[in-house]
């Protein structure tokens, strides 16, 4: 089975570049140049140095003793929560801003849901001295005030998306419209493995440092680069893409994606796209999409703003369809309990997105020798309000 992208920009039945003609030159420029630029020695040096000295990579792979004892397996935590700005998102924004510079772009735009990608973009724009506009749903701006202020402190203009339901999906629409209106001087830093080709592949490559490090670290710590399981949460799917990337052709490594079930799969308030979605086209690619019979995109729900997206990246849609990745899900309550559990067993308060990945430990059966890696995609600082409101600790 082939899991990688083909020359037309498809992963099996999914992917492609479904964009209005006005965006064609931008997408074509990116498509024709991203691999060459990313392959340049000078680019790689600069990227790797920033990851090391600015982001703080490699992030630790931590053997979680107490969690391992509880679940009778060898559980490792990949500590992306220790990246600068508090999540894996910055791996991608560093890569894309270096690429934007080489394309001669002067301005950066981005979309954000919970604000993590927005903060990571605002951060690299400050670092590189570039103008930055971040679109954020008006509702999300109210829910995530601290991240709005972080972006503003960093010198970014945060523009509320007031169309539709005023969340991540609408912020993405607004960012695309901005790009249509400003095609020549602006680069759009998409934050997940979604959007028209080459974005899903480009973002996955920038995030692939996660699985590259896991392999090296497991070789050192376990004497074997291959875990038995890699577990990661999936909204759009960027942290999962990074954690799966270098294992996808090693079929003996079981890859587990965890979606947000919200209030429950059948509650009407969920974001579990592989269960509830059908193939469709949104934001420039063909993928699995939560939608009505008539093809209108459905507003998803999750307690975690980062998983609150009605689709998944086209690569994940393909990995789901081929059965290469097994998709599980966790409800709001299961995730919140798992967040508390990780806090109390290992002293790590995870982002609520990450807590979904931790929650499936209860739903799986392991052999005592199994090596399990959970990608701790982000830290819980931004979610303190949600933990407090949930209250059961």
């Amino acid at each position: 089975m082939i899991y990688t992208i083909d020359e037309r920009g498809y992963y099996g039945n999914f992917g492609g570049a479904y964009i209005p003609e006005m965006l064609y030159p931008n997408i074509e420029e990116l498509r024709s140049r991203y691999l060459d630029i990313m392959g340049e020695g000078d680019f790689q040096n600069q990227f790797n140095q920033l990851l090391r000295n600015y982001v703080g990579r490699p992030t630790p792979l931590f053997y979680a003793h107490r969690l391992s004892e509880r679940y009778q397996a060898k559980i490792y935590l990949k500590r992306e929560d220790l990246c600068h700005t508090g999540a894996h998102k910055i791996n991608n924004t560093i890569g894309q801003i270096l690429l934007a510079k080489r394309l001669g772009k002067q301005k950066i735009i981005a979309e954000t849901g919970a604000g993590q990608h927005g903060v990571a973009t605002a951060t690299v724009c400050a670092l590189m001295g570039m103008d930055c506009i971040v679109y954020m749903g008006q509702l999300d701006m109210e829910r995530q005030r601290p991240n709005v202020e972080r972006m503003r402190i960093l010198g970014t203009t945060v523009v509320p998306a007031t169309s539709g339901n005023m969340t991540l999906k609408d912020a993405t629409n607004e960012a695309m419209r901005h790009w249509i209106n400003n095609p020549t001087d602006t680069h759009y830093i998409i934050g997940s493995v979604v959007g028209p080709h080459p974005y899903p592949d480009m973002v996955a490559r920038f995030q692939s440092v996660i699985s590259e490090e896991i392999r090296n670290q497991l070789s050192e710590q376990e004497g074997n680069p291959y875990p038995d399981y890699v577990i990661a949460c999936v909204g759009g799917g960027s942290n999962a893409a990074g954690a799966f990337y270098h294992f996808v052709n090693d079929e003996h490594v079981q890859l587990i994606g965890v979606e947000a079930a919200g209030l429950g799969i059948d509650s009407g308030e969920s974001a579990a796209t592989t269960v509830l979605g059908k193939p469709g086209v949104l934001h420039g690619s063909k993928t699995l999409l939560m939608q009505t019979e008539d093809g209108q995109v459905v507003e998803p729900y999750s307690i975690s703003a980062g998983l609150d997206y009605p689709g998944i990246g086209p690569w994940h849609a393909h990995l789901f369809e081929t059965g290469r990745v097994k998709f599980l899900n966790a409800t709001d309550d299961e995730a919140m309990q798992a967040g508390i559990e990780l806090s109390r067993t290992e002293g790590i308060i995870p982002a609520i997105e990450t807590a979904h990945a931790v929650a499936v430990l209860k739903k799986m059966e392991f052999d005592p020798d199994d090596v399990v890696v959970i990608n701790v995609s982000g830290r819980g600082d931004k979610d303190l309000e949600t933990y407090i409101r949930w209250g059961k600790y």
Binding site: G16, G164, N181, G295
Partner: protein, 266 residues
Amino acid sequence: METINVMNRIDKLFQQKKENILSVFFTAGFPTLHDTVEIAKQLQSAGVDMIEIGIPFSDPIADGPVIQQSSKQAIDNGMTVTLLLEQVKEIRKTVSVPIILMGYLNPVMQYGMDRFFSDAVAAGVDGLILPDMPFEEFESHYKQEMDRLDLRNIFLISPTTSDDRIERIDQASRGFIYAVSSSSTTGSKNEFDENQIRYFKRLKDKQLKNPFLIGFGISNKETFSAACQNGAGAIVGSAFIKVLSASKSIPNDILTFIKTLNSGIK
């Protein structure tokens, strides 16, 4: 099947009229669910040459705020692809100008592409504009079936479209080409600047095999007349939706609006 062996209405229009063509866009199911039929009739009575009806979509990335808002309201009103095709059948009882359906790919894909093509033709549709359908996708998957049904697919080009690509699009097109006036979403601008005029001239000088209509930012008699001097005519969308939004008497307001637009030419 009366559509067989009858000339496509778009082709016929461009054969009979070479200039000052006015095509008007409005969103199906807006302002109220069943206004679609009446608006189409009134547009023909007012002398419009072609009608474009928008299939509302929840995430219209190429549209500005005015059309977005109308789409949202239409969806809230209960508009669906199935209902729109029924409305087009009703429109065709009295309306003879070409009808184009314009919409994003996803609702059409859920209806079923081939099923949509044949049901649209049966209802009396002459052409489609699907702005997020890639040109390459059309050529490899849909061109053959649409040609067989004599259904036109209208492509967009913009000021940033390269010469090569314009020529390829021209070669693959039948009917006309939709020249987006600026790098923008719909309804963004009020007058043309030097760059836009230069772009229209560039298109004119190319001597394309298809005529082109200018759209996006045609809002008043000045921009309509400027578009007519540079292309075969123009497409008016957001400005018309604004009229509908504010209208107390749709027939009167349509007549006045179209009269005003046309008053700048001839």
